[in-house]
Subunit: 430 residues, 2 copies
């Protein structure tokens, strides 16, 4: 049963409380993560092997699987499963490849040409969570844009199963991506290994991927202390469903539960103009929850979630934009005019037949998205995340004549004489 | 006189040493900055006024200047100066406006449509350094892309002069940008004010701009502890000049000095295939340095800098790509074939007549660029920095039929039954 609030009755304090989900600053694990990072930095592979023994309960002779190992593991999955992964790969590829574009040159003044060129980030590290939850879809979501961007080196880390291997689904995705090596390292130690490099694992320029609170904490620390960057800060997953009286309560409930089964800290928020629908959704939640294998987890997440009843659809959009959800599902016959009203969200699912699961796996959009309100200033992962755009410029004699005195005046007024000289000396000698 | 190294003789250790310029971890100021942040968070405007008294030597009644104040200050600058700022504004606008593009919709499968839409970051904060160095150009470099992106609220902070005002050049740039308020706050306290909001200053979603080590440190801390993001990490400015025997040593020296005058921690690196040119540049450095007003500063920066002599241009490009300079100037007749070899750099200046100063002020490209090797994974500021790209998708009945079983299989293999249900329930009821 979702807690229910009336939008018009929300005090500013209650509103702030509902919007806030940065509740876990992870102070408790800071010291643990710092000591893991220091250990990996100092002892490299030896530290990684020791953590594998401690956390993954496996003694590793080598820290990676090569292409033969990967081939063998990939063969263990069914034809249907291979086919499903292939379709997901293709759709993700099809959508993401349109993101890489040449830009045109701009002649800002006669003889002054400026443009941007796209270059891949050379070495990227992808963290793929493993252990209990196996997430081959995450490997596709990160590997496909990395390949399209043209990254030279793609380092993949994932925790080993206790037989010292990885899951066959992950192996098959590696094959689809033509990546012939995977490092058997998980947790904060994987992030540290990719940030500093070890005997086996190359140092990378940017680290991507979701993970538990140790991985997330390690990424935050690495971003602050090294020249390695990260995709984005991460928090628990969340969905906000906007539904009006045309919505199907069974679909709405199914979408909320799909979010809730991720973990007890997941949030599933319903914002609706119809209190009748809210009641129906609550009934559906009970019925559908009962038959879920991850029922207890989902039930707890639902307890942390809530419904907001609004007067009209504009209020619903306002609440959603303030919340800035990772996933936004708009279940209404009239979704079209609402597109332009979406200001803050990670990924948006429109209409009654567009469940979030489609985008989580196979429609083509990326599922690595900003959570915890970061959608106010971050985009989800895309090919853009794997490239830099470098500006270039070329000035001719004519251009220097056009722009020279402007630069001289501006350098002068900022008190930077040598900046001015760099222009003056060129004007003189022509 | 630049220290000189032969590329072929560089040991891996020496190479690492030359590439490393993250030498100031700012640990010393961490505590000061943390206490300023906490103070501003708790006491708001009162704290800001007290810091203005302490650091800027001015008692402020109100923490901002309004449009009348700005108009009056803007009138104090000369016509030529106004004109120069206008030309810079226009060129920056012309270049940056091409960066905002609609993207096309991709139908990944029949009935499955995916696309991205661009939305401005609603509230952005621009930090404009002040005090001794006055940087109106930075206001243009941040304000123009913010305006093009369509940000609803642009909050500008800059430290007050000790008369409680700002410089006329900054005022004129505010007018060009149609920004009618500026907050008289500098340093770490400005970053804290924009991150948390105070009685006078609105909280923003993202903070941009360069600054001293206190500002930089505050941005790093804010990024880690709040949901406010920042443009990029910052370090001392730097240039790398690649020059061959066709280069003019006087131009090369002028470009190195333009970098060096920024501060003693600036780096100006010369990479050349010609040891004769290296000698000539050293002579020019001496001659040009002598007449600079910021001579002592520049001389110290030159001491921290160095020359690398390479066998050929490919080695020079290799060194540059490993260094990943903020600014790269290629002074060679033969610059064209080198464009494709540039992998890591912030902004690139091509040929003999394209000094970095042109891009610093007026050619149109942005001067807010990644330093300290961050060009390996970061781009400079652009319109992209002020927007989010949100993915949208819509699936029809036909689309659900096409994609449904793929999603079901993938959800199943990841053990996420509720994700599967969200599709199955929709297939059933049609």
């Amino acid at each position: 049963m979702l807690n229910t609030y009336i939008y018009a009755d929300l005090t500013p304090e209650k509103m702030a409380d509902l919007l806030d989900r940065n509740t876990d600053p992870n102070h408790a694990i800071q010291d643990t993560v710092l000591s893991i990072i220091e250990d990996v930095k100092q002892h490299g592979d030896a530290a990684l092997k020791s953590y594998a023994k401690q956390f993954d309960k496996v003694e590793l002779e080598k820290l990676y699987l090569d292409s033969d190992d990967i081939d063998n593991l990939a063969m263990t999955i069914s034809r249907d499963q291979m086919r499903a992964l292939e379709i997901a790969f293709q759709n993700i590829h099809k959508f993401h490849q349109t993101q890489l574009k040449r830009e045109r040159t701009v002649e800002t003044m006669p003889g002054v040409k400026c443009w941007r060129e796209v270059r891949p980030i050379e070495k990227v590290g992808l963290y793929i969570p493993g252990g209990s939850a196996v997430l081959p879809s995450t490997l596709l979501m990160l590997g496909v844009p990395a390949r399209i961007a043209g990254c030279k080196e793609i380092v993949v880390c994932s925790p080993p199963q206790n037989n010292g291997k990885i899951n066959g689904f992950v192996a098959y995705c590696l094959k689809l991506l033509k990546i012939d090596k995977i490092y058997l390292v998980g947790g904060a130690q994987a992030v540290a290994a990719m940030a500093f490099g070890t005997q086996s694992i190359p140092k990378v320029n940017k680290i991507f991927g979701p993970g538990n609170q140790f991985v997330t904490k390690a990424k935050g620390i690495i971003q602050g202390m090294t020249d390695v960057s990260i995709d984005m800060p991460a928090g628990p997953s969340e969905v906000l469903v906007i539904a009006d009286e045309t919505a199907n309560p069974a679909y709405v409930a199914a979408d909320l539960l799909a979010q809730a089964e991720h973990g007890i800290d997941s949030q599933a928020v319903l914002v609706t103009t119809s209190s009748q629908l809210a009641d129906q959704v609550n009934q559906e939640l009970k019925a559908q929850l009962d038959v879920l294998p991850r029922k207890e987890l989902a039930a707890k997440a639902i307890e942390n979630s809530y419904t907001v009843i609004t007067e009209n659809i504009q209020e619903a959009m306002d609440f959603s934009n303030r919340y800035a959800p990772e996933h936004l599902i708009i279940e209404s016959d009239d979704w079209k005019p609402l597109i332009n009203k979406v200001q803050n969200a990670g990924s948006v699912f429109l209409g009654h037949l567009t469940p979030e699961s489609a985008g989580d796996y196979a429609s083509g959009t990326n599922h690595t998205l900003p959570t915890s309100g970061y959608a106010r200033s971050y985009s989800g992962v895309s090919v853009d995340s794997f490239v830099k755009k470098i500006t270039f410029q070329h000035i001719t004699e004519q251009g220097l004549e056009q722009i020279g005195s402007t630069v001289e005046i501006l350098a002068e007024l900022e008190g930077l004489q040598a900046h001015k000289n760099a222009v003056s000396i060129r004007k003189k000698k022509q």
